[in-house]
Structures are given as structure tokens and as C-alpha cells.
């Protein structure tokens, strides 16, 4: 049944896309669009209710994404939206295919160098400061309000300064990522370290456990759900930070560099190809963190079956 539905939807969109590329329009065409979209929504709904593991779990988001892409193609071409506002997915894909080596170079520059190093340092620093603050109430009361201040620094403000300090290459972008990922980690870890139950704290106290032992054996495990929340929020954030930072000076490579320079030249297909790379990389990064979370917090009610 689901298979048949998927077949109909796929066929429907294929026909629509062929029609629109041939330049047709009209009432019948738009009714076809509406009907196929409704069928696709039903399909996504069915797939979403399927069992949890394996291929079916992937089918739903894929079907949803494919629907969005097909609609995008049909609408952009059908309504003849100018390319400088929104290019069609087919145009983006064609351009991405041609520009693949360049996209890879940009990805390596921005993601592999700036994002990863900045993410590790930023999350690490937020985490470390949270530990210190948890240990020293004096620091907690003094540092956390100041931590809030750092969080509030807008990227567009710090990026020019950090470029000035750390130079044009990826180091300054990593510094921006550090500044952006730091605060979510700090806030969440502090909240997480406070989440251990009173009874469990008493238990550790009764063992005269050292603060380090209490931290390691009790507080950190119970803080994990919070820490992973921060890691997840930070994954796409780090990517945005690095890209935006490249707007303020960069070598002649990088995703942010390409996006701004090509946008100014109205090469929106290349801009979108770059955005797609960013979205895929960000989602994959997030997905990895989410997998790690499932493994590490198997005991939490939100994960436990």
C-alpha cells in the first residue's frame, strides 16, 4: 500500500517536473500540483508512523525532503521566479556538479579547519568553566553573569575584531566559533550539574566522596542530557558562525567567502549549492551528536523505550 502510494507520488512529480520544464502551465497543471502534494503529505504521514529502526526510520525524512524539493522545482519554474531570487533545485544541482572541486575546497577550509577546531575548543571551554563554577560558588555567582555578557556578543560585532586579532585565515573563524558555542554549553552544563537528585547527592555525601568523585560519578552522568542538548544546538551554530565570520575578511576560499562574493555577482545557483553543502554538513554533524547522545544517555526517560 505504502509502496503503491510512493510510486504514484514519484510518478506524479516526475510528470509535473517534465511538464514544467517543457514550459506548460494552466489550471490542470496546478490542480495536479495540489493533488500530488496532498498525496505526498499522506505518504510522509504513513512513513512517519512506521516502526522505529532501520530503513523505515530514514524513509520519512527522505520522502519529506524529496517532496519539498519537487515542489520547489515545480513552483519556481511554474511561477517563473527569477533566478536571482531563488534558483530551481535542478539548476543548483547542475551548478554544484560542475563546481564540486571548488565546493570541496571551501568545505575543507571552513568546516574541517575552522568549525571543528572552534567547536571542540568552544564546547570544551564552556564545559570547563561550568565545572569550575560548579565547584566554586564564588566564581559561579561572579562568572555566570559575565558569561551571559559574552553570549550576548553578536557575531557581526566580534567577527571583525577577531579577524583583526587572529588574521585572515581559519584561526579567526575558529575563534568566532569558540565565542558562539561557548555560552550554550556553559548554561546547559551548569543547569545539568544542578540536576542531580537530592537523595543521590546525600548518598555521595555519606560516602565522603571527594568533589571530583561526586562530579564524575554522579553529577556528570546526570548532566549528560543537558550537555548533549548544548552539543546539538552548537553543531549547526558553529557552522553558521564560521561562515558569517568569513564575511569579514578571509583568504580566497571558504563557504562564507563564496556565498558573499557569489551573491554579490548574483550567482545564486552557486550560493545555494554552498548553502546545501552547509545544510548537509550541519545535519550530518548534528546527526552524529544525536547518535552519541542515544548511546550515552540510554538510561534517561526520554531515550529509554
Amino acid at each position: 500500500m505504502t509502496g503503491l502510494l510512493a510510486l504514484i507520488v514519484t510518478g506524479g512529480f516526475a510528470a509535473l517536473i517534465a511538464t514544467v520544464h517543457a514550459g506548460a502551465g494552466g489550471t490542470g497543471f496546478w490542480m495536479g500540483v495540489v493533488a500530488t502534494t496532498l498525496l505526498a503529505a499522506w505518504l510522509v504521514q504513513r512513513l512517519g508512523d512506521a516502526p522505529d529502526r532501520g530503513l523505515p526510520a530514514l524513509a520519512a525524512p527522505v520522502a519529506f525532503g524529496a517532496t519539498v524539493l519537487a515542489l520547489w522545482e515545480v513552483l519556481v519554474l511554474g511561477l517563473s521566479v527569477p533566478m536571482v531570487l531563488l534558483p530551481a533545485p535542478s539548476a543548483i544541482a547542475a551548478r554544484a556538479w560542475l563546481a564540486a572541486p571548488m565546493l570541496w575546497g571551501d568545505f575543507a577550509q571552513t568546516f574541517l579547519k575552522a568549525v571543528l577546531s572552534g567547536y571542540v575548543i568552544g564546547c570544551g571551554a564552556g564545559f570547563a568553566l561550568a565545572l569550575v563554577a560548579d565547584r566554586l560558588p564564588f566564581l559561579r555567582r561572579g562568572l555566570l553573569p559575565l558569561g551571559n555578557l559574552v553570549a550576548a556578543l553578536p557575531v557581526v560585532g566580534i567577527a571583525p575584531i577577531l579577524v583583526m586579532w587572529f588574521g585572515f585565515d581559519w584561526q579567526s573563524k575558529a575563534a568566532v566559533v569558540v565565542a558562539m558555542t561557548f555560552f550554550p554549553m556553559l548554561v546547559n552544563t551548569v543547569a545539568g550539574l544542578a540536576a542531580a537528585g537530592a537523595l543521590e547527592r546525600d548518598l555521595m555525601r555519606s560516602y565522603a566522596a571527594s568533589p571530583g568523585q561526586t562530579l564524575w560519578l554522579l553529577k556528570l552522568p546526570s548532566a549528560l542530557p543537558f550537555i548533549f542538548t548544548a552539543l546539538k544546538v552548537n553543531a549547526p551554530l558553529a557552522l553558521i558562525g564560521a561562515i558569517v565570520a568569513e564575511f569579514f575578511g578571509s583568504p580566497t576560499q571558504g563557504m562564507g567567502f563564496r556565498i558573499t562574493t557569489e551573491a554579490a555577482k548574483l550567482a545564486l545557483d552557486l550560493v545555494w549549492a554552498e548553502i546545501v553543502v552547509a545544510a548537509v554538513a550541519g545535519s550530518a554533524f548534528y546527526g552524529l551528536v544525536a547518535l552519541a547522545e542515544r548511546a550515552a544517555t540510554f538510561w534517561h526517560p526520554s531515550v529509554r523505550p
Binding site: P82, V163, F168, F247, T261, A264
Partner: protein
Amino acid sequence: QERVTLQLKWVTQAQFAGYYVAQARGMYRAANLDVRINAGGPDIAPPQVMAGGRADVVVEWMPAALASRERGVPLVNIAQPFKQSGLMLTCRAETGIRTPADLRGRTLGVWFSGNEYPFLAWMARLNLPTNGTPQGVRVLRQGFNVDPLLQRQADCVSTMTYNEYWQVIDGGFRPDQLTVFRYADQGVATLEDGLYVLENRLADPAFVARMGRFVRASMQGWDWARQNPDAAAAIVLDNDTSGAQTEAHQRRMMAEIAKLLDTSGGGRLDPADYERTVQTLLSSGGESPVITRAPTGAWTHAVVDAAR
């Protein structure tokens, strides 16, 4: 009164004094126009604004305008108040750079977003690769200011005669401590601030007539600004909603802008300048060229003629 929306290419400053003067001193009103001036900024691409239907006429540099034409937003130059290019490369003299040949092996700050093509054309002519090899030059994408020069991250940076150059001076350099290469002197100048509209709208005679009045009033504004630079700077300052501009800086900018203007022809584009711009852009190479073939119909004198 007929409405006209003008989209500038950059933030409110004396670079656009003529339009603000025409508005403040009633030249638009006298031409029976109600003109709304929208400031630009680093994230605003005037052709995109145009394609979104949010402007009737835009101020743009010709490389970007030609690029957008090739990408399906057919902009047409209707007037060219700026005759000269103000773009230059400014170097610290202490690095030993005296002539273009000395640029080999140096780190240069360049503006991108379409402004890199005259630069690439120049480097191609000098036979200097731009890929960072020691035989060539190392290129940095420069932000909006000259900090890389002051902080010695670059040996040279891009500047405009009317703006960034003076920031370098304010940063503690004397003119004799700087080596300056004007793009115009190197034969790679491209046309800067011109007025552009969408091609299909020119089919409408009423629109052409309206633009004619607009161009004429704008040129009157420019003419007045050229003759009264300090007063023009004050008018610009009145229109700065960010409250960040200073009077001294705007006066200096206005004085420099005046040197780039040509108000004598009523804004009529010189086809020779256009040809030189196209040739420069086509000879620049690069991995994603700004234009791949010589455009056609990218300018018209119809509006300027209608303005007579």
C-alpha cells in the same frame, strides 16, 4: 507627483551626495517627483532588490550590473554621473613597493563581490599569478576597512580615493609613507556609480520620460554638490540615520567625489568608457568570471536624451 524609489549601493555617505541634495533642495520636487532613497550596505545587492520589485532605479557599479544582466536581471545603464574610477591599491612604502612589479610575493587586500575583476585583469597584465605562489601575489578578501594595512597583515589594501585612503592617513601615515596605484592609471579602470533600470520598463515611454526627469534632477543635485561641497556634506549628514558619520570625513569625501564627477554631459555615458570596462572584465579570467561574453543593449542614451 510621481513616485520613484532609488536603491543605493552602499550606506548613506557623500558618495551619494547628489541624490540627497536633489531631494533636500527640491530638485526632485520641481521635476514633479516624489523620490524615496533607500540606503544600501554590505548585504544589499541592488540588482536583487530590483528583481524583487523594490526599486525603480539603482546605483550600481558596472561590473556588477553586467553580471546581473548575464544572470537574467537585464539592467540597463541610463546615466553615468561618475566618469573616473576612484578605486586604487594603497601600499605601505616601508615595504619597498614602488612600482607594480614590486608586488610580486606580496600580500594584498582585495575587495571581492565583483570588484576583484579589474584587479585580476591588472594582475593578468602584470603576469602575476594570484594563487598564492611565491612568483605571484597572495590575495586576501578584505573586509570593509583598512585595518589589515594598519595592523601589517597585508602589504597593500584596496581603497577608494574618497574614503578608505583617508582612513589610512588618519591611521597615522603621511602621504609620502604610502605608495598608491590608481586603477585608472594602470588602464584597468571600470565604470563605477551609474544609474540602472530594468530593460523591459524602458519600453514604456512614460517611464522613460519619468526617468529623464529623474536623471536631470539628480545631475542638478550633483552639480550643486560639486559647487557646494561642505553644504552637500551637511545634507548627507542629515540623512544618516545611523548617527555614525562625522562632518569632517564627509566634507573630505565630497571634495574627492567632486573630482570623479562629470556633470557636463547631463550624465551621458561615454561608449568608449563602456568598451574599456567590458574589455577589462573579459580579460580578467578567474575561476568564475563575472561575464563570459560581451553584453548587448547594456546601456542607452534614450533617458539622457529625454532629459534634454
